[in-house]
C-alpha cells in the first residue's frame, strides 16, 4: 500500500481554503485546537475562530446561534464528546431547528485506542443517523475528506462528518468530487459485495484482492454517504451478488451495517454479515490492535465473505 495519511490534515487544510473564499465560515472548538488541527485556521482567521472552552453543550448551542446569524459554523471536536455530550443540543438545536451547522467528529471510532472506551466513538454514526435532517458522511481517505468538506458548505442543513486520525492509504485523487447519497463502486464483482466506509475501505479493497485469488469475485462499494444512503446501489448489490458484507469502525448496532440492512430487508432480502464492534466496550489496546481484535481487517472481511458464501 501507498504512503499513509492523516485525514485531519486534509479536513483542516480544506477548511482554511474555503474560509478564504467564504467569510461566512467559522470554526468552533472546545479547547481542542491541536487535536482538531485548527491552529492554522486560528492564526489566519482569528475573528472567525470561536473557542468555547471545555463545554460541548454550549458549543453546539452557540453553533446554532452562529448559523442563525448567517454564519456557516464548523464545530470541530473529538467525536466521542461532540456527539454524546451534546446529543440533545444536536437533536433539537441543529436537527429539529434545521440549522446549517457542520459537525466535524474528529478521531472517531477507536482512533484513541489505549485511552479506552470513554474516548472511543463507536456509537456516533447511529446517534447522528437517527436525527431527522442530519446528513452523515464517513470519508475514506484524504482526497475524499477534502471533497466531503467542500461539499458540506454547499449543503444547507446540519451534517456530521466523521474524520479519523488512524492513518489510511489514499485511494482517490485530487479530481474526486463528493456526491451525497451515492455509493462509489471501487471494484466490480459478481459473487459478493463488500461495503465499507472510513478506515475500512482500504481493508475491504485488500480483502477483495485476496478473495479474487481464491476465485471469488467481490464487488467493493465505498459507503461514505451513510445518510442519505444509496438505496439503489444496495438493492442492486442484493439482487446481483450473492450477499453483502459490511465493515465499519463502529458498533454493529445502528451504523452502516444497520443502514444497509434496513434497505436489504425491505427490497431484496439476502444474507449479510455486519462487521464492527459487537456491542461491547473494547479492551485496552492501540487502535490497530483493537481493529484486529474485532476482526476489522482485510482478513476479517475476507473470512466473513467466505463464510457468508458457504452458508447460502
Amino acid at each position: 500500500m501507498s504512503r499513509l495519511v492523516d485525514c485531519r490534515d486534509a479536513y483542516s487544510g480544506m477548511l482554511e481554503e474555503m474560509a478564504l473564499q467564504d467569510e461566512r465560515i467559522v470554526a468552533v472548538v472546545n479547547d481542542s485546537l491541536g487535536s482538531s488541527k485548527l491552529k492554522g485556521f486560528q492564526s489566519k482567521f482569528p475573528d472567525r475562530f470561536v473557542n468555547v472552552g471545555i463545554a460541548e453543550q454550549n458549543m453546539v448551542g452557540v453553533s446554532a446561534g452562529l448559523a442563525n446569524g448567517g454564519k456557516i459554523p464548523y464545530v470541530c471536536c473529538a467525536a466521542c464528546f461532540l456527539t454524546a455530550r451534546a446529543m440533545e443540543q444536536i437533536k433539537v438545536d441543529l436537527g429539529y431547528a434545521n440549522y446549517n451547522v457542520k459537525l466535524v467528529g474528529i478521531s472517531s471510532g477507536m482512533a484513541y485506542g489505549e485511552l479506552g472506551p470513554t474516548h472511543h466513538s463507536i456509537e456516533d454514526v447511529g446517534w447522528m443517523r437517527i436525527i431527522p435532517n442530519m446528513t452523515v458522511l464517513v470519508p475514506a481517505d484524504s482526497f475524499e475528506t477534502r471533497a466531503a468538506i467542500q461539499y458540506s458548505a454547499t449543503h444547507d442543513g446540519p451534517m456530521f462528518l466523521r474524520i479519523s486520525r488512524i492513518p489510511v492509504p489514499d485511494l482517490f485523487d485530487a479530481d474526486t468530487k463528493f456526491e451525497p447519497g451515492k455509493a462509489l463502486r471501487l471494484r466490480e464483482g459478481r459473487d459478493v459485495t463488500l461495503m465499507a466506509n472510513g478506515v475500512m475501505v482500504s481493508r475491504a479493497l485488500q480483502a477483495a484482492g485476496e478473495l479474487q485469488e481464491m476465485g471469488i469475485s467481490a464487488q467493493v462499494l465505498n459507503m461514505s454517504s451513510v445518510k442519505p444512503i444509496d438505496r439503489e446501489a444496495i438493492e442492486d448489490a442484493a439482487r446481483n451478488t450473492g450477499g453483502i458484507v459490511t465493515a465499519e469502525e463502529h458498533s454493529i448496532y445502528g451504523g452502516l451495517g444497520s443502514a444497509v440492512a434496513e434497505v436489504v430487508t425491505q427490497t431484496h432480502p439476502v444474507k449479510m454479515r455486519i462487521l464492527g464492534v459487537p456491542g461491547v466496550f473494547a479492551p485496552t489496546g492501540s487502535a490497530e490492535f483493537l481493529l484486529e481484535h474485532f476482526g476489522l481487517t482485510a482478513e476479517g472481511i475476507r473470512s466473513a465473505a467466505v463464510q457468508l458464501l458457504g452458508s447460502r
Partner: protein, 325 residues
C-alpha cells in the same frame, strides 16, 4: 463595532438616567442607520423612544396576551399558564417597544433576535407574536391541535419570528450567545435578547454559556431571567437554591439589573437602555409572580401546568379585564 453606550453602576439606574441612556442609544442607532439602506430607515421610524411609550397600549396588550393564552390553554387542555403569566409583561415590552423586528420580513438578517428559552410558555409567546403581527387570532385557536404550526413548544420552521426550537431547558442562552457572537463577527448592530426561567438555570449549559458570553465580551446580548421563584415541583429555593442569583451572575462577569418584571414602564426603559455596559453581557433579573394577574393563580405551584375549568377561565378573564365584580 457599534457598542452600547456605557452605563456605570451596579444597580438599575431608574428615572431620568434611564431616559438619558435610552436617548443616547437611540441617537447612536439613528446616526448609524441614517447611513444605511431604506430598510434600516424603517427600523428607525418604528423604534420607540422612551418618551413616546404608549403605556396604555402595552398594558392592554399584556392583559390580552394573558387572556388569549389562557383561552388557548383551556381549549387545548394543555399548557403552562403560570409561566405564561409571569412572562407576559416581559414579552409585551420586548415586542411592543424594544425589538427591531418586522413581521413582514421575519428573517431580515439585520433584525434583533429574541429567543424564548422557556419554550413551554409557548401560549404567551404565540399570543405575543399574534399581537405583533406574526400570527393571526385564528392561528391561536389551533394551539396544539393536530397538524397545527402552534406546537406545544415553538418550531422556528413553522412560525415566523421564532428563532430557535426550544423546550428542553438550558438551550436558549447558548444559542443566544451564538447569535451575539455572529453579530460581533459581522460587526452588525443588532441585539440578541433571551428569556429564561429561573428554575431553568439549574441546567448546567446556562453556566457554560454565561462564562462564554463574558469571555467574548458580548455587550450585544441581554439575558432576561423570569424570576417567579417557582418551578414545576416546588419553589426554586426548596429545590435547588438559586440565591444569591444576582451575585452569581455578577461573579460570572455580567452586568446585572434587578427590577420588577411586571412594571411595564420600567421594563421598557430597561430593555431600551440595554445592553448596559461596554464589554459585558447584560442580565435583567426580573422579579415576577407566577400566575400574575389572576388572584387564584398567583404564586401557586399547581398553576405551572394546570388547565382552568370553564368557571376559572371566566373568573380569570374578568379579573384580567379589570372587571372584578
Amino acid at each position: 463595532m457599534l457598542s452600547a453606550p456605557a452605563a456605570g453602576g451596579a444597580s438599575f439606574p431608574r428615572g431620568r438616567a434611564v431616559h438619558i441612556y435610552a436617548h443616547v442609544r437611540q441617537y447612536v442607532y439613528t446616526e448609524f442607520f441614517q447611513r444605511r439602506t431604506a430598510l434600516c430607515d424603517l427600523w428607525t421610524s418604528t423604534m420607540k423612544s422612551s418618551s413616546e411609550i404608549d403605556l396604555m397600549r402595552l398594558e392592554k396588550q399584556a392583559a390580552q396576551t394573558r387572556i388569549r393564552s389562557l383561552q388557548m390553554v383551556y381549549r387545548a387542555k394543555l399548557g403552562h399558564p403560570g409561566g405564561d403569566f409571569s412572562a407576559a409583561d416581559i414579552l409585551t415590552a420586548l415586542y411592543g417597544a424594544v425589538l427591531r423586528v418586522d413581521p413582514a420580513n421575519p428573517r431580515d438578517p439585520e433584525r434583533d433576535r429574541f429567543i424564548m428559552s422557556k419554550g413551554h410558555c409557548s401560549a404567551a409567546l404565540y399570543a405575543t407574536l399574534a399581537g405583533a403581527g406574526y400570527l393571526t387570532d385564528a392561528d391561536l385557536d389551533t394551539y396544539m391541535a393536530p397538524f397545527s404550526a402552534l406546537n406545544g413548544h415553538p418550531d422556528r420552521n413553522k412560525i415566523p419570528g421564532v428563532e430557535a426550537n426550544t423546550g428542553p431547558l438550558g438551550h436558549g442562552l447558548p444559542i443566544a450567545v451564538g447569535c451575539a457572537l455572529a453579530a460581533k463577527i459581522s460587526r452588525a448592530p443588532w441585539h440578541t435578547f433571551v428569556l429564561v426561567g429561573d428554575g431553568e438555570l439549574q441546567e448546567g449549559s446556562n453556566w457554560e454559556a454565561a462564562m462564554c458570553a463574558a469571555q467574548y465580551k458580548l455587550d450585544n446580548l441581554v439575558l432576561i431571567i423570569d424570576r417567579n421563584r417557582l418551578q414545576q415541583g416546588d419553589f426554586t429555593e426548596n429545590t435547588i437554591r438559586m440565591e444569591p442569583l444576582a451575585a452569581r451572575w455578577r461573579s460570572f462577569g455580567w452586568d446585572v439589573h434587578e427590577m420588577d418584571g411586571h412594571d411595564m414602564e420600567a421594563l421598557v426603559h430597561c430593555f431600551q437602555a440595554a445592553p448596559f455596559t461596554r464589554g459585558k453581557p447584560s442580565c435583567v433579573l426580573a422579579r415576577t409572580t407566577k400566575g400574575k394577574g389572576v388572584s387564584f393563580m398567583e404564586n401557586r405551584q399547581e398553576w405551572h401546568h394546570r388547565v382552568p375549568t370553564a368557571d376559572e377561565l371566566q373568573r380569570a378573564i374578568a379579573e384580567l379585564q379589570g372587571d372584578k365584580a
